[in-house]
């Protein structure tokens, strides 16, 4: 036995192996921005990983403490720049909560309508870039074609292509008209056809399923404990959506829509395919909400009367604090604002959904292969502007 042990230990000593440290990012085609992940590799298999963020830290919270409540609205655009309507919405709701103001009814419906449109646009980017991550370039171009239509629609009402600054405390910047809503419903009809095409091209593709099913499995417990929200959490089987459970806008209370939950169709519950598929189905649910919004939108003012003066004199909420959560395309965006009665808050904290969703990455990667790492990062659908703020 002793000889055998000596033999084996000697053999091991002969083979000189070294752990390979691979640096993924910040400039890497598939880190969705400037995420840096340091991977310890054993051949193709990842043994350990360390996330490094902060390459896009833009001092948003410091700025929030120094500009007025209204002036911070365009900065919220620049956090989750793929879903700036939703960010505007969360910030406006926070300021409204501090001020005890409520937006007029029509404004709420407009908000829901544009927020859902932006959700589709955001998920389209997730879909397109996920295709690129997995080596299929064409879905990206199809996704951007539809996204371009949404951007043109939103540009017509807000005046900007990407960072809209449209939803403001007290309502929305401009009213919408019927012609625009007709265009939106035409887009919805077109989009539903395209959606089926996406599924033929990518979702049902054998190679795609092989690459994503059973990869990066996020269990329910891990997701909850790490504070994952949004599609990442729903893909793990938790049926939780703020729009349904804590409706923060009137339309979400009145509209009918389903909440897609991961089912483990092609593998284990909570794998990359589930996360992807939850996002794909959410797009269709958003289309449903948009259709109902167009149908039911009431007439009225698009901006609270008492709030119009905010353009000339800064808002001064009474001392206090407010925490408001909104269902963003990436999860629950929260703004925690502490006011001491001045022109600007003394603390303007953001709960960024991507930040929490990303924190789970280090636990998902070990044991998978390099190609899976790319698939996992893509399936979390992070926006670094929001992670780093």
């Amino acid at each position: 036995m002793e000889a055998l042990e000596m033999f084996t230990s000697d053999r091991n000593a002969d083979v000189y192996t070294e752990e390979l440290k691979l640096n993924l990012g910040p400039q890497h085609p598939s880190t969705h921005g400037v995420l840096r992940v340091e991977l310890a590799m054993d051949g193709e298999i990842i043994t350990d990983s360390w996330c490094d963020i902060g390459y896009l830290h833009r001092c948003a919270e410091k700025i929030g403490e120094n500009v007025t409540y209204l002036q911070f609205t365009p900065y919220t655009d620049r956090m989750d720049y793929l879903a700036s309507m939703n960010n505007n919405l969360a910030w406006s709701l926070t300021v409204e909560k501090l001020l005890d103001v409520e937006a007029p009814e029509r404004a709420q419906w407009i908000r829901a309508l544009v927020a859902e449109l932006n959700r589709i646009a955001s998920h389209l980017i997730a879909f397109g870039t996920y295709g690129i991550d997995l080596g299929a370039n064409t879905p990206f171009f199809y996704a951007f074609r539809e996204r371009e239509s949404i951007m043109q629609l939103l540009e017509k009402i807000s005046g900007a292509r990407m960072l809209y600054n449209f939803i403001r405390p007290g309502g929305v910047a401009n009213d919408i008209d019927d012609a625009w809503m007709d265009e939106v419903s035409a887009f919805c009809d077109d989009f539903e056809k395209r959606w089926v095409e996406y599924n033929t091209l990518l979702t049902d593709n054998f190679v795609f399923i092989q690459r994503t099913a059973n990869i990066g499995i996020l269990t329910k417990e891990l997701a909850l404990s790490n504070g994952c929200t949004g599609p990442v959490l729903r893909a793990s089987g938790v049926k939780w959506d703020l729009r349904r459970d804590v409706p923060y806008l009137e339309p979400y209370d009145e509209c009918e829509f389903d909440i897609p939950v991961g089912e483990g169709t092609h593998g284990t519950l909570g794998d990359c395919w589930d996360r992807y598929w939850v996002r794909m189905r959410e797009m269709i649910e958003s289309v449903r909400i948009i259709r109902q919004c167009i149908e039911k939108i009431p007439p009225g003012a698009h901006m609270e009367k008492s709030m119009v003066k905010m353009y000339k004199t800064p808002l001064k909420p009474p001392p206090g604090e407010a925490y408001v959560r909104c269902e963003n395309p990436r999860g629950e965006l929260g703004f925690y604002v502490v006011s001491e009665g001045g022109n600007s808050p003394i603390r303007c904290r953001t709960r960024a959904p991507s930040f929490c969703n990303l924190s789970v990455l280090d636990k998902l990667l070990p044991g998978t292969m390099l190609g899976d790492a790319v698939a996992t990062i893509g399936s979390l659908d992070i926006v670094l502007g929001e992670v780093d703020r």
């Binding site: 080596g135 299929a136 171009f141 795609f208």
Partner: protein, 356 residues
């Protein structure tokens, strides 16, 4: 070749070794020129095909008509771009790798019959020669990946080694199937056989299967999607040529497109009638007529398969490295052997499949 030697003898009075080397020089020069022009065209074509699949335009401005001069501009730019050799790289190996890669693929074109009599060397072991010489490319890629002193390059090189070596087996086995039917390794014999009988793809279902297997595994050999793991852009930045710039990098480009050409050309020659037209007997034609028609027909078939390769690339996601391996060993290799044995049985009994 012989014709060229004779021509030189007549025109310049060259004889013996001198005539032979002059003829070789002309042949190699013309093939080199052809490869360059072809690659430029193929790159332009790839960009146009990709663009139209993706509902956009592709190159439109350079050169005027639909950006026809785009690849020329690329070549000029790459030619005059700084050539970086990283400080920590092994300079000699780094320098030699693109040459090795390119030579391996380029040499394969020597034995290809483009039309009646248009062939540099009519080797008896033509198919075998192509398979053998194309494998040299792997060595070049490994050298490139190792010499770059970059982890991404190394990953790409090792992936390439594993992938190409594994896919040699199904490629060679699938190639054996038409060889079994025709009974020769010489590429010209396939042309004559298919002119006399029928296209080999219609010979039996097993030959069609072998054609599919050969086409899939040749994709892996060319590092085309969905097997483009060695240069998987979203995983390995640019794979084994991450550190290459300028002209050296363009050699890898040339290599990729040339090996695509060889693979498509082998498919066309071995299964789809070579330079023969379907339903037309061209054997009695005058060589002056048959030669240009043959070249055009063969190139048309080849470009069709190149188009299919591009079409696949812009449709499919990329496989993972272990899935590439399991696809090779679990699916392609067994079925290639099945096709080989079934063809032997099929031909022994002389069954027919289609009324041809």
């Amino acid at each position: 070749m012989e014709a060229l030697i004779g021509l030189f003898g007549e025109l310049f009075g060259l004889e013996g070794t001198l005539a032979l080397s002059a003829a070789y020089a002309v042949c190699i020069g013309s093939i080199l020129g052809f490869v360059t022009v072809y690659s430029m065209f193929a790159i332009w074509m790839e960009r146009k095909v990709a663009a139209h699949i993706q509902v956009r335009m592709g190159p439109m401005v350079t050169g005027g008509w639909h950006g026809w001069a785009q690849s020329v501009a690329d070549a000029v730019k790459l030619l005059f771009k700084e050539d970086i050799i990283p400080t920590r790289a092994n300079a000699f190996m780094f320098w030699i790798a693109p040459a090795v890669v390119f030579c391996g693929v380029f040499a394969g074109l020597i034995v290809v019959p483009f039309a009646v009599g248009v062939q540099v060397v009519d080797l008896h072991l033509g198919v075998f020669f192509i398979i053998a010489i194309a494998s040299i490319e792997v060595i070049g890629v490994i050298i490139a990946g190792w010499a770059s002193n970059s982890k991404y390059s190394l990953f790409g090189a090792v992936r390439e080694a594993a992938q190409v070596v594994s896919y040699e087996i199904p490629t060679a086995t699938a190639l054996l199937v038409p060889i079994l039917v025709v009974g020769s390794f010489r590429l010209n014999d396939f042309n004559t056989w298919q002119a006399e009988h029928h296209w080999l793809i219609f010979h039996s279902p097993w030959l069609a299967m072998a054609a599919l297997i050969f086409f899939i595994s040749s994709l892996a050999g060319c590092k085309r999607a969905p097997f483009d793991l060695p240069e998987a852009e979203s995983e390995l930045v640019s794979g084994f040529h991450t550190e290459y710039s300028g002209m050296r990098f363009s050699f890898f480009f040339l290599e990729e497109y040339t090996s695509m050409f060889v693979a498509a050309l082998l498919t066309a020659t071995l299964w789809f009638g070579g330079f023969n037209l379907p339903f037309v007997d061209s054997s009695a034609w005058h060589p002056a007529l048959a030669m240009p028609i043959g070249i055009v027909v063969l190139l048309a078939k080849t470009f069709f398969f190149i188009f299919v390769q591009m079409w696949l690339r812009w449709t499919l996601p990329r496989l993972r490295v272990d899935q590439v391996m399991s696809m090779g060993y679990k699916y392609l290799v067994p079925w290639a052997f099945v096709a080989l044995i079934a063809t032997a049985v099929w031909d022994y009994y002389g069954w027919g499949w289609l009324p041809l």
